[in-house]
Each structure stands twice: as structure tokens, then as C-alpha cells.
């Protein structure tokens, strides 16, 4: 058993270092200078051992210290209490949460997958040896953290009792899971509960009992705590035998360690999830047709079959704007003093609307749907990447995107104009400028999002967004909008600048797409 533990530790070491080197090789600019020969260098094996060792130390002591400090010492200080009964009350409920949510045995990890599934290690030996390590590290880590942080609150013998209870509760939870499996005939995965509602409901109840009762000065009295402890100890001792003698670990892990459970973040699993969720977005309405031709026909069918995802967000935004407008109108009538504030805001803080429009624009959602359900497949056809094809489709898409975003933008323009009129009014030309500058902002973001998509095509063939440049430009756009939103400039001046800028930007963008998109818009 000790040998099994040693081997699994070595395997963990090996893939830790391999992942480290693999990660280095994927760093932009630096990665290409990292040779494959590093994988066989002994230095990295030692480095890996050090990394694993440090990681274990942090896991055993660091996380436990943080856990005790955040979940126990901090609440106690907020309750201004130094009572060990408060402490033990909260601890017990937290230990209950930990017992069923972190059993180790029902956690489908990569280590287990590699050792039990791929390397055919004896499931029982692997499980028991690693479970003993888990219990040992929990015991030492928890005990150390409690002694360091709670020695002046809880007597040492109660600290010892709390740690033992933690361990016993885990045995009881595992035994309970074995029982449930036997009754229901299905494997339990602690990361994917049968019912998330029940799971989070139970956690919420236990958290309420842990922190809510002490708020009202209600905690488990000492004598009751001791009775509960005795029950837990007895049930725990009974469960220990079951856990160590359990004969079906091999059967359990055969079902639990399927790649979907283990590699929840693997590229394949992610890709399959993305594909499945995107296919669901396609409308199966058989009456959908189009009487257009060529690209207009292709795009028309795309829009009609994705109407829900394309227009849902715009509809919700429009509704939100209307609601806010109605509330503000109501406020204007109820509180006359608010008129000046709102009027002043509209006349002097138009740049703030730019930031708002940045968040409200659906460009990213739409381009995402375009890639996932259309361009991902079509880009492998060479005719689809021809300059004329690209430009024809780009024009169709731009029209759709602008129209989709114009619905909330026009609503906002209208709402702001009404608010301006009701709050004290402004000159006719100001109305015009404010109205059209919001429309210009919407058009600008529609063009901007589509241009970025065509010029930087950020997705790879695995449907992940992998373009560093795209991320940098997106962040820069946000910061620019944020900076502009803080500018002290009249809405009239800003509105004029915005309208001119949106027109110039759109014209330059069209030229850029025609000139560069045939080279940039392709599968990576």
C-alpha cells in the first residue's frame, strides 16, 4: 500500500512538471523559446518535487489557517465574542458541510483517473492509501491551525475533539453515501450532486444555523455538544470499519472516473459542451424559409433560426431601459427637486452613456453565435474566405447587428429626450444632438465589435477564445470608454464629436475589412 502511494505521488510529480513546461510553452512570445527537451531534464523533476511539496504544505497548513481565520475567527470578532461555545457551535456546522461536500473518496480526480483507470492500479489500495494521507493531512493541518489561531478561545482538549469530530463526520458521510448508492443503485459524485437545489439548500440551512443562531445568542450548549460528540464518535467508529472493508472500490471508480467527470475543463469536454449548447440555439421551426438569394438568403436563414439568442438580449435591454425611464419619470413627478439633478446630468454627463452603451451592445453575443454555429464550419470552405464573399456577408451582418442594437438605443434616446423635456428642457439642437449621439454610439459599438471579430477572429478551431490581441483590444476599449465617461464636457459638444467619430470610424472599418479580412478571417 505504501508502494502504491509512492507511485501515485511520483505520477503526480511527473504531470505537475509536464503541465508547468507545457504552460511555459504557451506563453505568448516567450513560449517559442522553450524547447521540448525540457521534459526530460532532471532539474525539472526536482523542481516538480519542490512545487508539489510546497503545494502540499500550503494545502495542509495555509488553506486550513485561512479557513479557520475567515470562517471562524472573523465571524467571532464580528459578534464580539470570545466564547468557546460560539466557536464550537460554528465549527460543528461547518464540519457538517465539509463532511458531505469533501469526502475525498467520492471526488473523481485526475490522480485517480491516471492511476486506477489508465495504470490499472489496485483501486482499493490506491483509495485507502490516499484516503489515509488525506485524513492525516486534515488532522495535522486542522489541529495546527486551531492551536495557532484559537488556543486562547478553545481549550486544547476541545480543539482535539473538534478535529477528531471532523474526521469522524467524514467517515459517517462516506458510509451514508455507500448506503445511498446501494439503495439507489447509482454512483455518487460529490462534485455533481443529484440535486443542486437540495445541495445548496442544505448548505444554506447549515450556514444559517452556524452563523444565524449565534447572532441571536443561541448556541449549542456544552452538555448537548458533548452528547452530539459522543453520537458522532460512535457512528464514526462504526463507519471506519465499513470504509476500510468496502469491497467495491474498483466498481465504484469504474463508473465515477469517466472522462466527463474527471476532465470537466478538458478541451474535448469543453468543446462538446459548447457544441451542444450552441446547437440548442438553432430553431427547429420547420416553417422558417427565405425568399432571398445568395448571401442575403444564407444570412437571413441564420438570423431567423437564431432569433432567440440574437434578439433576446436586445429585448431585455429595451425593457430595462423603459422600466428605468418610467421610474425616473415617476421620481420627477413625485420629487420636483430631482428635476434639476436629472436635467443637469443629461446635459453634462453624456459621456457616461458611452460606457453604458459599451455594456449594452450585443455585438459580442452575436459574433459568438456567428462563429459557433456558422463560421466555424463555413471557414473551412475556401469560397467562403474570398474577399467579395466576406464583404457581402459582412454588410448583411453589419445591417443586422446595427438594427438589433438600434432597438434599445432608440428607446434610450427617446427616454432621455422625454426625461430632458420633463426635467426642464433644452434647446432644440441639443435634443437632436443627444438623440443622434446615442444612436451613433450604438452604431459605433456594433461596427467595432464586428470589425474586431473579422480582423482578429479570436476563436480557435476548438471554439475557445484564444487571441491575446483581441483580449488586449477589448480591455483597451473598456478602459477608453471608462476614461471618457469621466470627462467633464457638455453633452452638446460630446454628442457632436461622437456623431462625427462614429461616421469616420465606420468608413475606415469598412475599408479595413475589405483590405485585410480575407487574410485575417480564418480558422486558427
Amino acid at each position: 500500500m505504501l508502494n502504491d502511494f509512492r507511485i501515485s505521488f511520483q505520477v503526480k510529480n511527473a504531470y505537475t512538471v509536464n503541465e508547468f513546461i507545457y504552460g511555459l510553452q504557451r506563453i505568448p512570445f516567450i513560449g517559442k523559446f522553450i524547447p521540448d527537451s525540457l521534459y526530460k531534464m532532471k532539474f525539472f523533476k526536482i523542481l516538480s518535487f519542490i512545487i508539489t511539496f510546497i503545494r502540499e504544505i500550503i494545502k495542509i497548513f495555509g488553506f486550513k489557517l485561512l479557513y479557520i481565520a475567515v470562517f471562524l475567527i472573523l465571524p467571532l470578532s464580528l459578534y464580539k465574542s470570545n466564547s468557546y461555545e460560539f466557536f464550537m457551535h460554528i465549527y460543528l456546522f461547518l464540519a457538517l458541510i465539509g463532511s458531505f461536500s469533501n469526502t475525498e473518496i467520492f471526488n473523481p480526480t485526475r490522480d485517480k483517473y491516471y492511476m486506477i483507470v489508465l495504470m490499472k492500479m489496485n483501486a482499493r489500495n490506491h483509495t485507502i492509501s490516499n484516503f489515509l494521507y488525506f485524513l492525516g493531512s486534515t488532522f495535522i493541518g486542522q489541529l495546527t491551525a486551531l492551536l495557532l489561531l484559537a488556543h486562547n478561545i478553545v481549550p486544547w482538549y476541545f480543539i482535539l475533539l473538534l478535529v477528531i469530530l471532523t474526521i469522524m463526520l467524514k467517515f459517517i458521510a462516506i458510509n451514508f453515501y455507500f448506503y445511498r448508492m446501494k439503495i439507489k443503485g447509482q454512483v455518487i459524485n460529490e462534485n455533481k450532486p443529484e440535486s443542486w437545489t437540495l445541495y445548496f439548500g442544505l448548505i444554506a440551512i447549515l450556514l444559517c444555523l452556524a452563523y444565524g443562531l449565534p447572532y441571536f445568542n443561541i448556541v449549542i450548549p456544552n452538555y448537548l455538544f458533548l452528547i452530539i460528540s459522543v453520537i458522532i464518535l460512535i457512528l464514526g467508529l462504526i463507519s471506519i470499519k465499513t470504509v476500510f472493508k468496502y469491497p467495491n472500490y474498483a466498481k465504484l471508480y469504474k463508473k465515477l472516473l469517466n472522462p466527463d467527470n474527471v476532465f470537466v475543463n478538458s478541451e474535448d469536454a469543453q468543446k462538446n459542451t459548447i457544441i451542444a449548447s450552441n446547437l440548442k440555439q438553432i430553431s427547429i421551426d420547420t416553417t422558417i424559409t427565405s425568399n432571398k438569394e445568395g448571401f442575403a438568403y444564407f444570412h437571413d436563414l441564420f438570423v431567423k433560426r437564431h432569433r432567440k439568442i440574437l434578439s433576446d438580449s436586445a429585448k431585455k435591454t429595451t425593457l430595462g431601459i423603459l422600466l428605468v425611464g418610467i421610474v425616473l419619470l415617476f421620481v420627477l413627478f413625485i420629487v420636483p427637486e430631482s428635476k434639476e439633478i436629472i436635467n443637469n446630468f443629461i446635459l453634462n454627463y453624456l459621456p457616461f452613456i458611452l460606457l453604458l452603451m459599451y455594456f449594452l451592445n450585443t455585438g459580442k453575443v452575436v459574433t459568438n453565435a456567428m462563429f459557433m454555429n456558422c463560421d466555424h464550419s463555413m471557414l473551412s470552405y475556401r469560397f467562403y474566405r474570398q474577399p467579395n464573399t466576406l464583404l457581402s456577408l459582412f454588410k448583411e451582418r453589419l445591417k443586422t447587428l446595427i438594427i438589433l442594437n438600434l432597438i434599445p438605443a432608440l428607446t434610450m434616446s427617446l427616454v432621455i429626450s422625454i426625461l430632458l423635456a420633463v426635467s426642464g428642457g433644452a434647446s432644440f439642437i441639443t435634443y437632436i444632438v443627444v438623440f443622434f449621439s446615442i444612436v451613433a454610439m450604438s452604431i459605433f459599438f456594433s461596427v467595432h465589435n464586428l470589425i474586431l471579430y473579422y480582423l482578429l477572429q479570436p476563436y480557435n478551431i476548438g471554439m475557445e477564445m484564444k487571441s491575446t490581441t483581441y483580449t488586449i483590444v477589448s480591455i483597451a476599449t473598456y478602459w477608453l470608454c471608462y476614461y471618457i465617461s469621466d470627462l467633464k464636457v457638455s453633452s452638446f459638444t460630446f454628442g457632436i464629436i461622437m456623431i462625427i467619430f462614429a461616421i469616420v470610424y465606420s468608413l475606415i472599418s469598412l475599408f479595413l475589412v475589405y483590405r485585410y479580412a480575407p487574410k485575417t478571417f480564418k480558422l486558427r
Partner: protein, 234 residues
């Protein structure tokens, strides 16, 4: 007409995948492209289809005179079929014919095209997201048959077909080869020997044609295996 490749090179980091490819493919033939795993068959196809930029060298069509390969000249059938799943098979063909009608000679009706690859009438108006792998593959193959490019690159296209459809597809490809260059990548030796007029091996980053001369199939197979193993030069 010939497809001429001259001194083509493609590296990934320090790894030279395509070293110095010099080769000429002639129309009217199906070429079986064989190579071991990771030999660079897909990389070669990606370079010819301009999905990847080459590091050195050139490739062009020699049709009386040298000319650059244009989009309409080349078709690439991927091993994993990709089709726009939000369209029905009929809608996709309609769109494809609409935008390529200037380049398509002898346009047939959409149903006639479906008949060609034996897609059943009840499947023609279904969304392609509900198509099987094999049906998607048929549609992908069909658009290339309709476009009829001078050069057709086929990356293991028959693997997802059942035996009956695979036989039908083989016959279709044999009919299609007249006036075209078909380069067919596969790992299945029997398929290559059965379907292809010439066997080309991609080994150590270079292409070489394997001369069959008067050998029977068994001897020829043995020779190809030896070349693939790097034990003997053809």
C-alpha cells in the same frame, strides 16, 4: 493540366514537417497519398489550400502556362465533415449553387445532386444538425462535386461511410477524375491500391511516387511498407 509543387517547406518551431517538396500531379488521375501518423499529410493539404502559410517554395497550375491557384481551382474535403448545421441540406446546396453559379458548368437540379450521393428525399429538408456523420460527409463531398474544382484534396473522406456508400463514393470519384487531379489521403492501403492510379508517399518531409512496374499487389504493398518504414527507397 498539372499541379506543380516546387521546393515547398513548412516548419512548426524547430520541427521541419515538409522539407523540400518537389512534385507534379497530373490531371486525370487519383493519387493515393500515404504517410505514417504525423508525416505531414494534413499539413501538405492545408498548405495547398492556403489554410497555412508556407515557409518557402511555391505551387501553381501548369495549364499551357503557369498560373496561380485560385479559389475555384481547389476543393478540400475534410476527414471530419463540417457543414452549417442551421441549414437544411437543400438550403445549403441552394446557397452554394447561388453564389457559385458562374463557376458551375452543367447545373443540375438540387434533387438530382442529392440523387447523385443517394441522400434520401425525406432527409433533404432536415436541418443538418440532425444529420449523421456519414450524411454530413456526403453533403460536404457533394458541394465539391458541384463546384468541380480542378484539384480535389480528400483527407480520409471514406472512413465514416458504411461499406455500401463507400463503394458508391469510390465509383463517383473514379468518374470525377477525368480532367481533374484528385489527391486522396488515407491510412488504408487496400483502399489506396483499389482506388488510386498512383501511390505517393510522404516520408521524412518529402514526397515520392512509388513505381509499381510489373509488381503484383502483394509485392507492391511490401514495397510501400518498406518505404514508409524508411528501409528502402523506391
Amino acid at each position: 493540366m498539372k499541379l506543380v509543387i516546387k521546393n515547398l517547406k513548412k516548419n512548426f518551431g524547430s520541427k521541419e514537417v515538409l522539407k523540400d517538396i518537389d512534385f507534379e500531379f497530373t490531371s486525370g488521375k487519383i493519387y493515393g497519398l500515404l504517410g505514417r501518423n504525423g508525416a505531414g499529410k494534413t499539413t501538405l493539404f492545408n498548405c495547398l489550400n492556403e489554410d497555412l502559410d508556407v515557409d518557402a517554395g511555391e505551387f501553381y497550375i501548369m495549364d499551357g502556362e503557369k498560373r496561380k491557384i485560385e479559389s475555384k481551382d481547389i476543393g478540400y474535403v475534410l476527414s471530419t465533415p463540417v457543414v452549417p448545421e442551421f441549414l437544411t441540406g437543400r438550403e445549403f446546396l441552394k446557397f452554394f449553387i447561388d453564389i457559385n453559379k458562374d463557376n458551375i458548368t452543367d447545373i443540375k437540379t438540387i434533387d438530382e445532386y442529392f440523387d447523385l450521393v443517394k441522400i434520401e428525399p425525406e432527409d433533404r429538408d432536415k436541418l443538418m444538425k440532425d444529420y449523421s456523420h456519414g450524411m454530413k460527409n456526403k453533403v460536404q463531398m457533394l458541394v465539391h462535386i458541384i463546384a468541380s474544382p480542378s484539384i480535389l484534396l480528400l483527407d480520409e473522406p471514406l472512413t465514416s461511410f458504411d461499406v455500401v456508400v463507400a463503394e458508391e463514393m469510390k465509383e463517383l470519384l473514379k468518374k470525377l477524375k477525368k480532367g481533374h487531379i484528385l489527391i486522396f489521403s488515407t491510412h488504408i492501403m487496400e483502399l489506396a491500391l483499389d482506388l488510386c492510379d498512383e501511390i505517393v508517399v510522404l516520408n521524412n518531409g518529402t514526397l515520392e511516387s512509388i513505381d509499381k512496374s510489373n509488381m503484383n499487389n502483394d509485392k507492391f504493398k511490401e514495397k510501400i511498407i518498406n518505404v514508409l518504414k524508411g528501409e528502402e527507397n523506391a
